[in-house]
Every structure is written in C-alpha cells, then in structure tokens.
C-alpha cells in the first residue's frame, strides 16, 4: 500500500465546510420542524449494527456495506440506511398493540463506493416512517409530508414519480406464469434497459396480445389517464386493486392540493427490494440523481418479528443542498479586536451583544498578523485598542 498523505480521506468521505454546514443546518431545521408539525417524533439509532440482522434486512447491496469486526468476532456494518434500524427499534421496543407509530430521523448513512469519486460514501438522510398503518391514507400522508418538507426547505421545482411494485409483479406473473420468468423481465426494468426489455419480450413465446401488453407497459407514465391504461392491461385480481389504490392516492393528493407535483410511472422499480406496494422517487432540476425516495414496505418488520406494514420516505440532504444552492452567509458576524489593556471591556461588550443573539468574534489583536485581511471576513469590526477612555481608535 502506498503511503497516505495527511490530507487524504477514504474514497467518498467528505468534509463539510462552514457555508455548506450552515446550508445543511437550515435545511435540516426547516424540514425537522415541518415533520414535527405533522406529529412525527425524532429518534436516533447507533451507527453500527449487526451485519446478520440490520445488514441483512437492509436493501443496500452487500458490496456497498462497510463491514468491520467487533472484539467478539461479530461482523458489524455501518448503517447503510435508516429504514432497517428503525424497523428494528419499532418492532422490538416502540410498537404497542399495533397502534400507528410516526417516527422521524436525520442521520448519516454509509454506502461504500466501488468505482470512482463524484458520489459521497457518507451522507445525511432525513426522513420519516409511518409504521403499522396499512391504509392508503398513510401512503398519501407520507407523500404529502415529503412535499411539505421540500417546500419548507425552500424548494419549489421538484417532481415526484409514483409507481407500484405490486402491480408490476402481478402483471408479469399473469402474463409470464412463473416468478422466475417475471424476475428475468423485471431485471431489465431494474437495469433501466428498455431496449433489452423489448428484445426479451419479443423473444418470448407468448401470444401477440400478451407481448403487446408487456410492451405497452413501458408507456405507463403520466397523469391520471395512465391508470386507465394500466387497468386495461391487467386482468382481474390483485393488480386491479393496486390500480384502484393508485386512483385513491390520486384523489388523496388532490385533497392535499398537491396533484400538480406528482406523476405516475408504473415502470419505476427501486433498488430497495423491501418495497411491497406504492413507491416513489423525487427529482429536482439541476440535480442528476433523485433527491429522495420512499414507499411502502409491508414485509420488513416481519424480519424483526412484527406483522406490521409501514411506509416512509428519506430525503438526501447533500442533494437537497445541491438543488437549493448554498445559502450565502446571512447572519452578520461582528469582530471585536482588542488589545490586552482593554480585554475586560471587550469581554463585557461581547457578552452583552451575544446575549442579544448577535454573533461576536472576540480576537486579541496581538494574535493577528494581517489585520486588514482578517477584518475583511466580518460585517463589522469594533476596535478596543489602547488605554481605556482615550477613544477606541475607530
């Protein structure tokens, strides 16, 4: 291994410098307050979890997990998402009598990067989980809260695509007959390879009507009219109910007054394999990757011993900051430059101003080499130099 230089960090690890810190803090505060207004309670979970439990329950690829050993030889992972740890806490501690539970978090998660830079391996997610409520109202609430959170963060231009993994599964099973064949076709969707999907469909021994159904499936993107088309592709059964669910969701979003922000995209498949029903992603202008995603996961809690459905979303703070832009420093900072003789007076003045909520830097003038350069950083500079009472030199 080559010798590391002192400035180097592991691949994908980033520092947060003051301007970005302020930006993230403002976003976090705004979103947290909004989530609290909806009655969600914040919790924290440890950064390290057992590989066998939370690591296995999480939907993040194994090769993306940071793994290490504890002193007893158990494999640990740095949490790759927050949904699995929260499912663990909810199932083992908080769920009482299967009552609906509304939890929120804002925490760093870790996903190792394989190939190259350009993506952080540690990033902050802020999100909620609505646990033990299997109604469509809960799905609607989660999406509406995500929209409200984005507004609270100051973002107006964004769009949400909503899909339904249950519908995809049911449609493919109806036409293809077996899980195995359905999974083979789903893999093309997961890889976003529409060319391969079409070729695969053409190569299958199916009636031309069924082939056309599978090809038409790729066009199921857009507004409410998409649900009509989707319903015509699927035979009676669970799939029709899934579409009915999406219709209700459309109505609920209308009740919230947020229909304009959502579109349906039934081809949407997430790498998060624990989703079981409605799932969604949110996109913003100027950011090449989704800024958040979510969906319903009715089987995850089962892995932790509870038979409860749940739905939730997570926003990525780093990408959100990219979408909103870095806030310019807005809170003014005043510097009090003092000389030794007037230190006491300076401390008193600083105390007084800080008590008023002002941001005050207290600096001994003898500690600064270039006073002009130093002073430039501040909105205001108060000089307390020389003998007291002889004027401040301003």
């Amino acid at each position: 291994m080559s010798r590391l230089f002192m400035f180097e960090k592991p691949l994908g690890m980033r520092d947060t410098l003051p301007d970005l810190y302020e930006t993230k803090k403002r976003l976090r505060t705004a979103i947290e307050e909004e989530m609290q207004r909806w009655g969600y309670q914040f919790i924290e979970t440890p950064a390290l979890e057992y590989y066998e439990t939370v690591g296995a329950a999480s939907a993040i690829l194994d090769r993306q997990l940071f793994k290490l050993l504890d002193q007893q030889g158990h494999t640990l992972v740095l949490r790759p998402d927050m949904t699995a740890p929260i499912a663990r806490v909810a199932a083992s501690k908080l769920l009482v009598d299967e009552l609906p539970l509304r939890l929120a978090y804002s925490a760093n998660v870790y996903r190792a990067q394989q190939r190259e830079g350009g993506r952080p391996a540690e990033f902050e997610q802020i999100g909620i989980e609505c646990i033990s409520d299997e109604t469509i109202s809960a799905d609607g609430e989660v999406i509406a809260l995500m929209i409200s959170s984005l507004y609270a963060a100051g973002l107006d231009h964004f769009q949400i695509s909503i899909g339904h993994i249950g519908f995809v599964q049911e449609l493919f099973l109806q036409i293809l007959g077996t899980e195995e064949r359905a999974d083979a076709l789903k893999k093309f969707l997961y890889e976003k390879n529409y060319v391969g999907y079409r070729e695969h469909v053409k190569s299958l021994s199916l009636s031309s009507i069924d082939k056309q159904r599978l090809l038409d499936f790729l066009d199921l993107r857009g507004g409410e009219e998409v649900l009509e088309k989707a319903a015509s592709l699927i035979e009676n059964g669970q799939g029709k109910e899934d579409i009915a669910q999406l219709r209700q969701l459309w109505q609920i979003m209308n009740d919230y007054g947020e229909q304009a922000k959502i579109k349906f995209d039934l081809t949407l498949i997430s790498h998060m394999c624990y989703y079981t029903g409605i799932l969604f992603e949110v996109y913003a202008n100027q950011v090449g990757f989704p800024i958040g995603n979510g969906g319903r996961y009715d089987l995850l809690l089962k892995k932790f011993g509870k038979n409860s459905g749940a739905t939730g979303f997570a926003l990525r703070l780093d990408r959100l900051a990219e979408a909103t832009g870095i806030f310019e420093k807005e809170v003014p900072v005043t510097c009090i430059l003092f000389s030794e003789e007037r230190r006491k007076e300076a401390i008193g003045l600083a105390k007084e101003k800080r008590a008023n909520g002002e941001r005050i830097v207290l600096q001994d003038i003898n500690g600064v080499k270039n006073i002009d350069l130093f002073s430039e950083q501040f909105d205001d500079v108060i000089l307390l130099i020389g003998k007291a009472g002889k004027g401040s030199g301003e």
């Binding site: 350009g118 769009q159 695509s161 890889e191 976003k192 390879n193 529409y194 060319v195 391969g196 070729e199 993107r221 579109k263 995209d265 992603e281 996109y283 913003a284 202008n285 950011v287 090449g288 990757f289 989704p290």
Partner: protein, 217 residues
C-alpha cells in the same frame, strides 16, 4: 427552462451516423457540425446543446446528469454499467464484440491472456464459458497484442473484419452484437419527459423506416 436539452454525442466513428439520424428525424443541425473542433455546440433553434465526448465517456456524462441524453454504443454500456435509461436501439454503427487471435492457435492452458479495451465484458464472458483468464487492459491498436506475443487472444469491436484480416488475425467467437443506443439520465427522463418522449418517437419513426430505405437503395 425545461425545454433546453443537453445531448452527449460520441466523437469519431458513431458521430456522423448519429448526426445523420437526428437530421432524418427532422432536427435542423448546422452543416459545419462535424468539422468543428469545439467540444460544446449550441443549436438554439432546436434548444439543443451538444457536448462532444469520447465514446467511452458518454454514459458517465449522462449518469451524472450533466447531459440529459446521449448516444452510446452497446459495447460501452456493457462495459461501464452506468445507471442510465437505455431507451432506444438506434440501429446505427452496427458491429460486434468478438474474440480474435492468430489463426490455428490454442489458448494457453495455464494462464490464458486476453488483451482488450473491455476488461469487464471480457471477464464476464470467459467466466460464463467456465474459463479463468488474465486480462490485459489496452487502450487501442488491440490487434498488436497477439501478433507480438502479449496475449493469446483479444476481445475487440469487429465491424467488417478488415482490420483483423490485414493484421493476419481471425475471429474465433462472437460475444455480442453491438449497435448504438439512445440513453437518458433518470432524472431528466422524468423532469424533461415531454421533450425526451418527443425525441424518442421521432427517432423511432426514422429507425423503423430503415429497411424501406435499404430495399430502395
């Protein structure tokens, strides 16, 4: 703002065919398009910005979202495995990815060596064949490798087979057929869906017409 589209185009072999296809789809592109040494070409009347990239890099630009859509060979898509939508087979720049080598030779039993620009595809292919090979990554003139004894075989793009022939090599197996694809960034695909759908359907029409052109000409 949503109307402006950035398109990553591959320089070299595929470029002319891709530009021709866009023209056939009814897009007005400037005549000096290909001669330009510029890396960024704006076409305001179509609300397009073209960026000219190395073919291998097109999916990278698109994945990171600095280009909304792009045109990339399937060979590059296989090798790079980028998280982008593969929307359309443009059926241009047809060729194949093949295993080639000196005629009447066998691969070494101990440590067969394969030279290629496509290490991932090559490794995956030979693993499927039940063969463990050692891969030597080269960046061009791959045909040199078996001739001067660097490798037993090469894996490279073959279109007419002339380059192989002229260098005294033969094609052993075809790995996969290659054409160029229209690819899209997942966010752009949603945020600029109307614009991208329009391009897809316009291109789709001229691709479908292709056999008609063939029989006429």
């Amino acid at each position: 703002m949503n109307d402006f589209l950035t398109i990553a185009m591959p320089k070299g072999r595929i470029f002319d065919e891709a530009a021709e296809l866009l023209r056939r789809a009814g897009y007005k592109l400037p005549p000096e398009f290909a001669d330009s040494r510029k890396l960024i070409i704006d076409v305001p009347q179509e609300n397009f910005r073209f960026i000219l990239a190395k073919p291998m890099d097109v999916p990278t630009y698109v994945e990171h979202g600095v280009a909304d859509i792009g045109i990339a060979g399937k060979d590059v898509m296989l090798e790079e495995e980028r998280d982008v939508y593969e929307l359309l087979d443009l059926k241009i720049s047809k060729c194949r990815l093949s295993v080639a080598g000196l005629p009447n030779t066998k691969m070494s039993d101990v440590a067969p060596k394969i030279a290629t620009k496509y290490p991932k595809v090559t490794a995956a292919y030979f693993r499927e064949q039940g063969e463990q090979v050692e891969i030597i990554k080269l960046n061009g003139s791959i045909e040199l490798a078996p001739i001067i004894g660097l490798s037993d075989r090469i894996v490279d793009i073959v279109s007419t087979g002339r380059t192989l022939q002229e260098n005294g090599l033969v094609e052993y197996e075809k790995i996969v057929d290659i054409t160029s694809r229209l690819i899209a960034n997942p966010v752009s695909y949603r945020m600029k869906d109307i614009r991208i759908s329009d391009i897809v359907s316009r291109l789709n029409k001229v691709i479908d017409k292709e056999p008609v052109f063939d029989t006429q000409g």
